[in-house]
Every structure is written in structure tokens, then in C-alpha cells.
Symmetry: C2
Subunit: 202 residues, 2 copies
DNA sequence: AGGCATACTTGCCACATAGGCATTTTTGCC
DNA sequence: GGCAAAAATGCCTATGTGGCAAGTATGCCT
């Protein structure tokens, strides 16, 4: 394999290389998909661009969709960790709101790729399905964090986690549908406000 | 094709036959999946059991998952129609609650197959993904119904539709995870109550 | 440094799936 | 019965999925 920049970290070389390969495959998938559209990209082309064998692709991802949504998972896991690390006094809902507000407007590149993935999911049902499946898995973890923080049961925790994640999804969809006006964090907060209002308007 | 019972309805023979074939394929897929597990069933086997050609399967469904979740879509569309037909005075949230409460405890067979599909989705990520994708599509329609009824904007409508559908999903998951104790409608109502409580416990 | 165990990569392979296209069959209607 | 539209089927190619075994890199120990 080509020499790549490997950030020295807490892990050994093997782990770092795996992470780098994963990222490289994801990047290749994103680039090719942006260039030609998702349906005009084969796994073979992605692996060629990323410099690994066709067979190895299957060791990293189960399909194109997974590869494209890799960054999504990374982002979500970062969100989770940030929520976990909020001051202990805060309620889960406050913690989640606080994190997403600051996080959604991070660096330009992350946000723009996020927008691209959201737009892709909007027109490609298969990609949306995989993304929602991933989010369902993450919901468990978020619910666990919520349960621990608020000291509530699993049902309440899942409801909170679901309401929060669904709000973020709705907000991102709106944001890209309207042509990404302003900061995405703004839209997320607006949707979260909407979610907090009583559902039954009498 | 074998002679099948075709309910006389508002449509012509052609439409009824298509519907019957769809149902037959779905039934075959369910039966075989229950017998052997989803991974040990091929499309070829489903088509053979349903009495159609392999090629025709693709004219009806895009894959095994779609075929299995056909009844899910039917059920959801019935839910939508029932919500639409509620008295005009009711708020959307009240209408949705009213419909789901009566509908979830309908006939034994429908509920039991619903449980089976939910359990399948619980262990088979691919099926869950397709289901969530379908629900996302249905969310648009539900949001439209909500918007019309409550006279609210698209954002509010989507929030309400999402909160409702997510509650139903959470409830069904809980219900099957706990071994289907009592009526599913009970669990749904409990989760909806939970969803109505303020998210931020101060 | 050398050597061993483990984990990762790859090639080969058989099988399942997706869907275009042309042909045949069925249906709706006169 | 006869005709046009719609649906079903067969054929075919491209693509995806994942088991298995052989080769290669890495981590670790001495």
C-alpha cells in the first residue's frame, strides 16, 4: 500500500493503518460518488481508487452505502462521547442540546460532507435505509448514556434518544432542502424547540 | 397460475390479480422465512412457492426485504387512511392516538405477523434498514395529513408525524422484546404518554 | 536482531441478486 | 373473434456477497 499519513495516537501501527485504510476507502467512495453519482460507481472502482483489493473491501464495509456513511458514524460517535462528557449536573436533554449546538457548526469540511451525504440520502432510498439502520443502532448507545445521566428507565431513555436523533435528522433534511441557509445548528435548535412544544394543540 | 380467491372490489380483474399475486409472494416469503430463517431463503424459492417466475418477482418487489414488509406498508397505509377519516374537530395528535389505540389490537393474525416482522427486524439489520426506509417515505404522507388537519407548517407537521411513528416503533420493539405481554396497544399508549412528557426534567 | 503467533490481505471461487430487452401470454374492450 | 395495452417470462450480463486457503505484515517476546 501507498505510504499514508498516520496520526500517532494511543493505538499501535496495525490499528492506525486499519483506520487509515477505512478512511481512504470512504474518501474514495465519496469522491467517485460526487463525481459520477452513486449508481455509476462500482465497488471495484472504489477499491482501485483506494488501493486495496476487491476482497478487502468486504473486510471493511458491507457495501457502498456503508463506506459512504462511515464518516456519519464517526460523527455520531463523537456526538455521543461529547454528550457523555458534559457536566454531571445537566439533564440529558440539556446535554444533548448543548453538544449539538456547538458541534453542528464545527469545521467547514465536515459540515459540507454532511450536507452531501444528507442530499444523497434524500434521492437514494437505499442509502437512506442504511443510514437509518445505523442510527437505530446508535440509538441504543445514546439511550444508555441518557439512562445513566438522568437515572431513568430504558423506555424513557429510548424516547429521549429517539426524539433527539429524529430532530437532528429532520433538521438536516430541512437544511439541505432549503439550500443550506445559515448555520445547520440554527435549524437543529429550531426543530428541537418544535419537538419540545406540546404535541396536542387541543 | 393457480386459481386463487379474488375479492371482487372497485378494481378490474387485472388489478385484483396483481394484488393477489403480491399477497401470495408476501405470504410465501413470510412462510419460508419463518420456517428456515431469512438468510436461508432465496428469491428463487419464494417465487417457486408463490407460483411466479423469478423475473416477475422483480416486477413486484425489489428484494426479499420488500416482499416481507409488504404487509407492513399495507398496515401503515390503513393507519394513515384511518387518521385521515377521523372527525374534523380532533387535533392531529388526538386523531393519531385514537386510531392507533383501536387499530393495534385488531385481529389476531395481523398482530401476530406484525410481531414476527418486528422480531425479524430486531435480529436482521438489513430488514430493519428497509423498514425504516419505508417508514421515512410514509412519514411524508402522514406529515401531509397532519398539516392539513392541524393547519400547521411542514416543520411542525413532520415533527408530529415523526414523534408518533417513532413511538409506535419503540413500543412494538419493547412489546416483542418483553415477549408480547398483553395488548400491543397498551404499550403504544404508554410510549406515547412518555413522548408527551417534557423532555427536559430540569 | 530473530522468531513465532496472530491478525490482516488477497485471490479464487460459487452462488445470489438487479435489471435491460425481446418475446409470449393475458386482460380489457369493442 | 380481434385488437391494443399491460403483464409475465426467459435470457443474458453486470454486480454483489462471503467462505476458504495461502500469502504477508505486525506485535511481542527473548
Amino acid at each position: 500500500m501507498e505510504v499514508v499519513i498516520l496520526m500517532a495516537g494511543t493505538q499501535g501501527l496495525r490499528e492506525r493503518k486499519k483506520a487509515a485504510t477505512r478512511q481512504a476507502v470512504h474518501d474514495a467512495a465519496m469522491r467517485l460518488t460526487i463525481e459520477r453519482g452513486i449508481d455509476n460507481v462500482t465497488i471495484d472502482e472504489i477499491t482501485e481508487a483506494a488501493g486495496i483489493s476487491r476482497r478487502s473491501f468486504s473486510n471493511y464495509f458491507t457495501g457502498k452505502e456503508d463506506a459512504l456513511l462511515y464518516a456519519d458514524g464517526q460523527q455520531m460517535r463523537a456526538l455521543l462521547a461529547a454528550i457523555h462528557d458534559r457536566p454531571a449536573g445537566e439533564s440529558a436533554w440539556t446535554a444533548m442540546r448543548a453538544v449539538v449546538a456547538t458541534m453542528a457548526d464545527r469545521d467547514e469540511h465536515t459540515v459540507s460532507e454532511w450536507a452531501i451525504r444528507t442530499r444523497l440520502a434524500l434521492t437514494h432510498p437505499g442509502l437512506l435505509a442504511v443510514q437509518l439502520g445505523n442510527h437505530a443502532a446508535l440509538e441504543r448507545d445514546l439511550a444508555a448514556v441518557v439512562a445513566e445521566r438522568d437515572g431513568v428507565g430504558p423506555v424513557r431513555a429510548h424516547v429521549l434518544a429517539t426524539a433527539f436523533l429524529a430532530s437532528v435528522r429532520i433538521a438536516m433534511r430541512l437544511w439541505v432542502q432549503d439550500g443550506q441557509p445559515g448555520r445547520p445548528g440554527e435549524v437543529i435548535e429550531r426543530v428541537l424547540d418544535e419537538m419540545e412544544r406540546p404535541f396536542d394543540g387541543h
